[in-house]
């Protein structure tokens, strides 16, 4: 259930090289955290803000804050990714407050990832229909539940990391995720 070093994509090769010698230092750990989490943080923040430029600013701000506060990180309270996403979440919500703008979490992302496998025209049409169904059902969910899905499927957090960001126990985080998925599944069936 640990997605560290798995979810990130598109990171330059010069940075993906393992730096074993520096991994034990606070800077080394931060660098590793950056490499493993940059794209996830951006995807999560983008889902919250629905604004690419703002998402980039907030992502950069979150990493800078994490760098400044890296010595305050307490491993006993969870893994570093959860701590980082907590910082990113606060920065994103501050941005939402600052802009005083209602951001819909269901609009079409600007750069959705490509399908991993080629599909036929019939399959493509069915997938598009199914995707629209999911988006419609997603739009009906409360913002907090949409955020749980964003943390899980866009941020790539494990349930333990999800728990740290939300400030609940791991089992409660899992239960919340389960309920939200069930709600979304039923909404999809109702929409279909």
């Amino acid at each position: 259930m640990d997605h560290a070093l798995v979810r990130s994509e598109g990171v330059p090769g010069t940075l993906t090289a393992s730096s074993v010698s520096s991994a034990s230092t606070s800077w080394g750990r931060f660098e590793e955290l950056y490499r493993s989490s940059r794209d996830d943080v951006y995807a999560y923040v983008f889902t919250l803000l629905r604004d690419g430029a703002a998402a980039e600013d907030v992502t950069a701000l979150a990493f800078e804050r994490a760098y400044r506060r890296r010595r305050t990180f307490d491993r006993r309270r969870g893994e570093e990714r959860g701590w980082l996403f907590g910082i990113a979440r606060n920065a994103a919500l501050d941005e939402l407050r600052r802009r005083r703008r209602v951001t819909a979490l269901v609009s079409e992302p600007s750069e959705p990832s490509d399908a991993s496998e080629p599909v036929s025209e019939d399959d493509e049409g069915e997938v598009a229909l199914r995707r629209t169904t999911v988006q419609t059902a997603l739009a009906k969910l409360p913002a907090r539940e949409r955020e749980i899905l964003a943390l899980k499927f866009h941020g790539g957090l494990s349930n333990a990391e999800l728990a740290r960001v939300l400030g609940v126990s791991e089992s409660n985080a899992g239960t919340l995720l389960y309920r939200t998925m069930e709600k979304l599944r039923k909404a999809c069936n109702a929409t279909a």
């Binding site: 010069t14 660098e31 940059r38 995807a43 409360p142 939300l166 899992g174």
Partner: protein, 395 residues
């Protein structure tokens, strides 16, 4: 966002669904019962926004610089004061300020000691009883000895009434405090001072128990010309501190003149009676004159004794010295003016005491400030968290 507060064991069915979701995200096959959930998970995951390559490159550069500002002109960079320098300077300034405060307050402590001495002098001045106010007379005055203590200590000089041409009786009282173990030492110094000045110890009591108590009392008589010097020396004895001091004076010029006139009259009467006795012719006259002469001589003796007593009172001043034990040790040996280990230890203890006092006052002053700051921080963070949640709900 505390949606659930309890941490109950997770339901097996829920755990199975969560495992299916994780397996789907990891690309592993899942049970057919969870196909619909897996499909939704894949669709949600496919909605994930990708990072622009330009942003990725910019971020990589910023991280490589450790978020330092982009390079600017050298001259501007040189003008920038490093944070470490500011922190070090601030810490140094705070340390200097603390040291200055300690030194000032410690100096103030010595100042208060001097003030105590001054106040004792003031008290002695207030307690000074002057039975006769001596008129200032300039002519025929005899030079009085300097009243400054010989060791130049800071003790208050003895009050010296104007005695020129007048018959003035002076007396003084001195109350000293010394450590119980030093009573004998101080008493011996009193004897030495009085002996050196030609004084007389009329009576004395010295009690040193070896415990926390001790007492000494002296009734002294010193030449009036040396009273000031005696007071100066006695006020600066080693191991002793002046607690109080009293100077008294009484002008007996009139009383002395009356005694002189009475003596002169008695002598004149006796002379006259002796002449009459030489011319007496009868036994009765002789007996009567003899009786009168006897009375006159008795009067002369009495007046002479009165004059002698007054002269002694004027010539020798009564000095009362009392030494009481006290708990705190006296400053060591200010008679020799040196700076010894004892003095250093005393000063160090004083500095530490003042530093502890400052720290205590600082803590007492900072505690409510810290409480208020903590409360403000808690309220602020709570409000901020609530506003963030509201922003999320509104999104």
């Amino acid at each position: 966002m505390r949606l659930l507060d309890h941490d109950a064991p997770i339901d097996p069915e829920i755990a199975a669904v969560l495992d299916a979701i994780d397996a789907t995200l990891a690309g592993d096959p899942v049970d057919g019962r969870y196909a619909e959930t897996a499909e939704i998970a894949l669709l949600l995951s496919s909605e994930r926004a990708a990072v622009r390559p330009e942003f990725a490159r910019t971020m990589d550069e910023r991280v490589a610089r450790r978020f330092a500002p982009a390079p600017v002109a050298v001259s501007r960079r040189r003008r920038r004061v490093p944070r470490e320098f500011l922190e070090m300077t601030g810490g140094l300034a705070a340390a200097i300020g603390l040291i200055v405060a300690i030194v000032v307050i410690a100096g103030g402590g010595h100042g208060s000691s001097s003030m105590s001495s001054a106040s004792s002098g003031a008290a002695s001045g207030a307690g000074s009883s002057r039975a006769a106010s001596s008129p200032p007379t300039a002519s025929g005055s005899k030079a009085q000895p300097a009243l400054v203590p010989p060791n130049g200590s800071s003790s208050t000089p003895t009050l010296q009434p104007p005695t020129t041409g007048r018959k003035v009786v002076q007396s003084a009282g001195l109350e000293l405090a010394a450590a119980p173990s030093r009573i004998d030492d101080v008493a011996q110094q009193v004897y030495d001072v009085i002996g050196a000045l030609g004084g007389i110890v009329e009576n004395s009591t010295v009690t040193q128990t070896g415990g926390p108590e001790g007492y000494a009392d002296f009734q002294l008589s010193v030449p009036s010309a040396s009273l000031g010097q005696a007071m100066g020396r006695l006020s600066s004895l080693n191991y002793a501190q002046v607690v109080s001091r009293t100077d008294s004076s009484q002008d007996i010029t009139d009383q002395y003149g009356a005694a002189q006139r009475s003596l002169a009259d008695a002598r004149a009467l006796r002379t006259s009676l002796l002449k009459q006795l030489a011319g007496a012719t009868t036994t009765e006259q002789v007996d009567s004159l003899n009786a009168q002469i006897h009375d006159a001589e008795a009067s002369i003796s009495s007046d002479q004794a009165t004059l002698n007593r007054l002269n002694h009172q004027v010539g020798f001043s009564q000095l009362s010295v009392e030494i009481n034990a006290r708990s705190t040790p006296a400053p060591v040996s200010h008679g020799n003016g040196g700076f010894g280990i004892g003095q250093a230890a005393h000063d160090a203890g004083r500095v530490l005491t003042v530093a502890a006092g400052i720290a205590l006052i600082g803590i007492a002053a900072l505690l409510p400030v810290a409480l208020v700051a903590g409360l403000a921080w808690w309220v602020g963070s709570t409000v901020r968290r609530r506003r963030r949640e509201q922003a999320l709900d509104a999104a």
